[in-house]
């Protein structure tokens, strides 16, 4: 795996560690993010993704290691860094009592925009996000997808260079998810560097040039999504559940058992197609191996976490 070393990384971490008492939330991670890259941090709940993001925007203090953001040190240069960073939070922390446009105005003033500029940018952003009609609605009256778009709009008010999104589409329906992905791809085309956490493999595959798979506070694998898949797995997977017995397999098929499911891997499609036709169960899927298989291979298919 070859990683190009960017000259001026937006984020550079070496041995970055955060401990909460005995718990190592982030356990010595190394990575760098180049300008205009989109990086996905993948991992199960509690893997340390959110803590890592919070260290980057100075909402948590690191315990050890080195971290620079735009060449500056978080905490010490919180103002300078965060003036260039926009954050989209996992929780809806818009001001629930206010109307949509007002919650953006309040945030714009935190960011230090003057009121005139703020109002102009709010109008443009709401229009771009197709939320203009909702400008006067209270936050409570908005759907989940609208709330998420409004939170993205809020993060863009001060024209940040780095956008951090913590699970941007968790809990949203498929249409809205695809709309948000289109939006994020658009932002990347416009030159933003994007850092997102997710536990949706598809999301990481759709958006990121590189993914970092995290577990127990460590980055256990990183690379381009497709490279990760071809390096670590066969091309095809047949997934079946409720099999009473395992049929005889030829040498080209690898078998794995987890829970009540069986997985058959092969680089050729034919043996799996034959298996598909032969299996008695209806709960069987033949597909390309994807990031989720890689993820589960490294983080385990059990419920141990």
């Amino acid at each position: 795996m070859t990683l190009t070393r960017p000259n001026n990384p937006v984020v550079l971490a070496r041995g970055l560690t955060k401990e909460f008492g005995d718990l190592k939330a982030v356990a010595g991670v190394d990575f760098e993010i180049a300008s205009n890259e989109c990086i996905g941090f993948l991992g199960p709940n509690g893997a340390g993704k959110t803590t890592l993001m919070r260290i980057i925007y100075s909402a948590v203090e690191k315990t050890a290691g080195d971290l620079t953001v735009f060449g500056m040190e978080p905490m010490r240069q919180r103002k300078e860094i965060n003036a260039r960073v926009g954050v989209v939070f996992q929780d809806n922390n818009l001001d629930q009592e206010l109307r949509a446009a007002d919650t953006l105005l309040v945030h714009a003033l935190y960011c230090g925009l003057d009121r005139r500029t703020a109002r102009r940018r709010i109008a443009t952003l709401l229009d771009w996000m197709e939320l203009s009609e909702k400008a006067k609605s209270t936050i409570r009256a908005l759907s989940g997808g609208m709330v998420r778009r409004l939170m993205i709009a809020r993060a863009l008010l001060h024209s940040p260079r780095l956008l951090i999104l913590d699970e941007p589409t968790t809990g949203l329906d498929p249409q809205v998810r695809h709309a948000i992905w289109a939006l994020l791809r658009d932002l990347k085309r416009r030159g933003l560097t994007i850092l997102l956490t997710t536990h949706y493999m598809e999301e990481a595959q759709q958006l990121s040039e590189r993914v970092m798979i995290m577990d127990h506070g460590q980055i256990i694998r990183s690379g381009e999504p497709n490279t990760l898949i071809t390096h670590h797995l066969e091309r095809y997977v047949l997934q079946a559940s409720g099999l009473a017995e395992i049929p005889a397999l030829d040498g080209k098929v690898r078998h794995e058992h987890a829970g009540d499911a069986d997985y058959f891997y092969s680089n050729a499609e034919e043996p799996l197609q034959a298996l598909y036709d032969a299996l008695p169960t209806r709960h069987v899927v033949l597909r390309h191996a994807n990031l989720e298989d890689v993820f589960l291979k490294f983080t385990g298919r059990g419920l141990s976490q």
């Binding site: 003036a83 922390n93 003033l109 771009w128 197709e130």
Partner: protein, 274 residues
């Protein structure tokens, strides 16, 4: 998404000038609280205005009518009570703001998380919050003054400084509230503080009767009680009588503010940066 590229949209991605200095940051936080408060103004402001009125009518007017018409610490009894109650109302509004309301913002609404995503310093977030509480204190103290004037309380020209006393009192108690909040795990814990600390302060800091002059030990304790000093200052305004003791009360009030301000910022930084 809209595909047409308007000049406004193109401008959105260009760098924009940000005013990240202290004053603008404090204004931003203050403005947020004012804006949210005004959104639910009636529900927010009615109880804290009515409560001192009930105390005033029941005690100063009701109970007071059974008292001799002599002076209380140099003042008619209704004026004596009014000068204390306006300070107490500033205390109540500030303490409520930075205990229950701050806790809700911290745990349920995650308001400070949203602020942490910006350039705001944690000190700016909470100084802004205390300034908002202090603003409310200034307004509430003035409103209590104006209403009690309708009941025949006699002001002096020095009462123009009532908003200042309300502001300082509320700033001090906002800091106390933040310190308490920084330790509290669940919202029900606040009832120990309000019943165990705020209620006794309200009754035993000279709002309704002079606490000092009975025993030297009580006098000493009362000097260490934060509410004593603004009440004494408020009384000086109504008496238009300024002595060395008045200066000492002002000095004590300012000393309390400086001390509690710095403790509260350190505590909240610890609480928020997790």
């Amino acid at each position: 998404m809209n595909t047409r590229e308007s000049p406004e949209l193109a401008e959105l991605w260009a760098p924009v000038a940000l005013r990240t200095g202290l004053v603008w940051s404090l204004f931003g936080v203050w403005y947020r609280h004012v804006r949210v408060y005004c959104q639910t103004f009636l529900a927010n402001a009615t109880p804290p205005i009515l409560e001192p009125l009930f105390f005033f009518t029941a005690i100063a007017i009701g109970l007071g009518s059974y008292m001799s018409k002599g002076l209380f610490d140099g003042l008619p009894y209704p004026t004596y009570v009014a000068s204390g109650l306006l300070v107490a109302s500033a205390m109540f509004t500030a303490v409520f703001e930075t205990t229950y309301n701050t806790f809700v913002r911290l745990i349920y609404q995650k308001t400070y998380d949203a602020m942490l995503g910006t350039h705001l310093r944690i000190s700016e977030m909470f100084i802004g919050e205390m300034l908002f509480s202090a603003t409310k204190g200034a307004v509430f103290a003035s409103v209590v003054l104006l209403i009690t004037l309708l009941f025949g309380v006699r002001p002096t020209v020095w009462c123009l400084f009532v908003p200042v006393i309300g502001f300082l009192t509320a700033y001090m108690f906002a800091a106390i509230g933040l310190i308490v909040t920084s330790y509290v795990k669940t919202i029900t814990n606040f009832s120990f503080f309000s019943t165990g600390v705020i209620t006794p302060l309200f009754f035993f800091s000279g709002t309704f009767f002079p606490v000092r002059g009975h025993h030297w030990a009580i006098d000493t304790i009362s000097m260490l009680v934060p509410l004593t000093h603004p009440i004494e200052l408020s009384r000086a305004l109504f008496k238009a009588e300024f002595t060395l003791a008045t200066g000492m009360h002002l000095a004590m009030l300012l000393a309390f503010i400086v001390l509690l301000h710095s403790i509260s910022l350190r505590r909240m930084a610890k609480r928020v940066l997790r």
